[in-house]
């Protein structure tokens, strides 16, 4: 499946942030972020804990409103739009904490994520069982995320890694051109992470991907370009080698992270197996 997004030919950026600010009360979380991500790029946002990475995602996807600044999706201003309006403009996101429909089966989860983009909207005159296009695509997505055999299992009873895969499945099911993944490999073991990276690479082929990720292996493996967010500001943007070599980044972030990683890697791996 290589649905080339029509926007790929578009020369403007898929996502553009112009001097975006966000504060909660007097606490400034995002402090003037400007960023342009060209269509088709795989872009990673890294930074220490509390740097505002997830907040940035929440602003772009419409979960929070910006305090000031503008956000553009394929050149169109989406500042202040609701999450569902932004999603209808073909931007889709996943969540750091698994956010699925727990009582619905895997198949139903995927199908619900497709219905709007397939054009069935609020229809109460179509029978879902008869929608062959939706069904076929759902089977395809389940095959891709490796959950075809778990089709009729309630999502709440899946293992953690399976739920993370479903999370990605729901995000890509609607065929959005811009995909935001928030720590897709968090809490996964090494093998699960490797599998997830392959999955992400496949499903974002020809699309714009923006991901928040802590695992530097994943980041340097997947990303075309990387932005480093520290205290709500982008201190560097560039290709992986540039970022690795950037002294400011090393000082502000990478050194600190390696320590953090050594301390934190083991418990996270255990949790995934539990």
């Amino acid at each position: 499946m290589s649905a080339t997004p029509s926007f790929a030919a578009n020369h403007g950026p898929a996502i553009e942030l112009r001097d975006v600010h966000k504060s909660f009360g007097t606490t400034k979380i995002i402090n003037g972020v400007s960023l342009a991500i060209p269509a088709g790029e795989r872009h990673a946002i890294i930074g220490p804990n509390g740097a505002g990475k997830s907040t940035l995602f929440n602003l772009v996807s419409g979960r929070y409103e910006v305090s000031s600044g503008r956000i553009l999706l394929n050149g169109e201003d989406i500042t202040g739009l609701k999450p569902y309006q932004i999603n209808r403009k073909r931007l889709s996101r996943s969540f750091q904490v698994t956010n699925i429909f727990h009582n619905l089966s895997v198949y139903e989860n995927i199908r619900c994520a497709e219905l709007w983009s397939a054009g069935y909207r609020y229809s109460f005159w179509h029978r879902v069982g008869a929608l062959k296009d939706v069904q076929q695509r759902a089977e395809e997505v389940m095959e891709r995320i490796g959950l075809a055999k778990r089709r009729d299992v309630p999502a709440g009873t899946l293992t953690y890694a399976e739920q993370r895969a479903l999370e990605i499945g729901i995000t890509i099911a609607g065929g959005s051109n811009v995909i935001l993944l928030d720590e897709p490999t968090s809490g996964m073991s090494r093998t699960e992470t490797a599998r997830a990276v392959e999955l992400i690479r496949q499903v974002t082929e020809g699309r714009t991907l923006i991901m928040v990720e802590h695992d530097m292996g994943v980041v340097f493996n997947l990303a075309d370009r990387i932005s480093v967010l520290v205290y709500g500001e982008v201190i560097a943007t560039g290709a992986p080698e540039e970022i690795r070599a950037n002294p400011a980044v090393q000082e502000a972030y990478l050194g600190a992270l390696h320590k953090e990683d050594d301390a934190g890697a083991q418990p996270a791996g255990d949790a995934a197996h539990a």
Partner: protein, 419 residues
């Protein structure tokens, strides 16, 4: 994909349901039974429409009677206008009038209530219920005050000899609309909107991020639900030939919540069972005892505590056991538990009835059971019923443990057999 011959089963179930509707009045010929079944039919629609909110959309409403009640009021006025000759609507199509009225009020009130989900929705629905009830009493010209608006359902020329005068004709009218509404509401669960209502119930936030305005989903679901509530209201108007403030009251809104919960919120057919049981309590039991509401309340509490999935869940739990041909092993423990439960119930009923007799002014305190007469003002019957209750509860405890142990053993085997 797995091949599942579900459709044949579905046809069988719907066919059997239609058959039950058709032959029920032939099996139960008493006038009393016929009235009860007619009420059950109307209430089944009401409870199913309520479950479109609670079970399918996750909306706990305390004011669903507003839609059935206002539907009934509009119907009663339309019926009166028809009998005056202002215009002509066949009585058999009046449920459609009630349904459209319910729909209009659903659009009106639903726009406000569905802005929010969860507790806020519940509270606003309660507020709207109280507001409508107050309005009904405030405008007696239209709503007829406490006494209500009465009507006569026999209007116009009889069609093929059908006047809707005899109760049996009303029964079949209700049965037809009940079956049609059941089918329509089931079909709605199989549509994109029905599925998204489930999704919004489970995780409204994620639904927003796959393109759905959750407020809009709730609004449409409530509007459709209000339509069927209105159909049910119109049928009760035709059946009773009177509509009063009681039709929009919080008591009725609470009643449908009780019935739906008792039947089983997680299942489509749960409310059907709930409505049948509820109307049985209301109509049949209220003829026997003044304490029927207390019994209904106790039953409800017991269900909430021990079977939150309702009667439907209790039935569905047995299916895998029956399929594995192991149900026979459960017969003895179930029979023992049932017997113990009945003993406890007998003790409880004895004491409750004595309390009611004592609290009633001027009533004789002498009661009779199985030819024995006893006075509620004396100690021996209290001791006797108390002992019966205690013995029943104690043996129920053991029977339940026995049943549970067997049950767990069977479940263990069934799980072990799975690949």
């Amino acid at each position: 994909m797995k091949y599942r011959p579900l459709n044949l089963g579905r046809w069988l179930i719907w066919g059997a349901t239609a058959l039950v509707f058709l032959v029920a009045p032939l099996a139960l010929r008493q006038a009393f039974a016929l009235t009860m079944m007619t009420q059950m039919g109307a209430f089944i629609i009401f409870a199913l429409s309520y479950n479109m909110l609670l079970g399918q959309g996750g909306m706990l409403s305390f004011g669903h009677a507003v839609y059935s009640g206002l539907g009934a009021y509009i119907t009663v006025h339309v019926l009166n206008l028809v009998s005056k000759g202002t215009f002509s609507v066949p009585v058999s199509l009046l449920p459609l009038v009630g349904g459209l009225a319910g729909l209009v009020f659903g659009v009106l009130f639903g726009y406000v209530t569905t802005k929010k989900a969860g507790t806020t929705f519940a509270l606003i629905s309660l507020g709207i219920g109280e507001m409508v009830y107050a309005c009904v009493l405030m405008f007696p010209d239209f709503f007829g005050g406490e006494a209500g608006v009465s009507t006569n359902r026999v209007v116009g020329e009889p069609f093929l000899g059908i006047t809707f005068g005899p109760a049996i004709q009303v029964y079949y009218l209700v049965a037809f609309w009940c079956f049609a509404s059941m089918a329509a509401m089931f079909a709605l669960t199989q549509t994109p909107l029905g599925r998204m209502a489930n999704a919004v119930r489970d995780n409204p936030e994620r639904a927003e991020f796959v393109g759905y305005n959750t407020q809009h989903v709730r609004f449409l679901q409530l509007t459709l639900s209000a339509f069927f509530a209105g159909v049910s209201g119109a049928l009760s108007c035709i059946n009773f030939e009177i509509v009063s403030a009681e039709n929009v009251s919080a008591i009725r809104s609470g009643g449908v919540l009780l019935a739906t919960f008792i039947g089983g919120v997680p299942f489509f057919f749960g409310p059907i069972i709930g409505a049948v049981v509820f109307i049985f309590f209301v109509v049949a039991l209220s003829g026997f005892t003044k304490a029927w509401l207390l019994y209904l309340g106790l039953f409800f509490v017991a269900m909430v505590l021990y079977a939150p999935g309702g009667i439907a869940s209790l039935i569905l739990l047995q299916l895998p056991v029956i399929r594995a041909r192991r149900f026979r092993e459960m017969l003895v423990p179930y029979a023992l538990a049932l017997a113990a439960g009945l003993v406890a119930l007998a003790g409880l009923i004895g004491m409750v009835e004595m309390v009611y007799r004592l609290s009633e002014q001027g009533a004789s305190t002498v009661l009779g059971v199985l030819g024995f007469a006893f006075d509620a003002r004396t100690a021996p019957p209290w001791i006797a019923f108390g002992l019966v209750l205690a013995a029943g509860l104690a043996s129920l405890r053991y029977a339940a443990r026995f049943a549970l142990a067997r049950w767990n053993a069977i479940q263990h085997d069934l799980l072990a057999r799975q690949p």
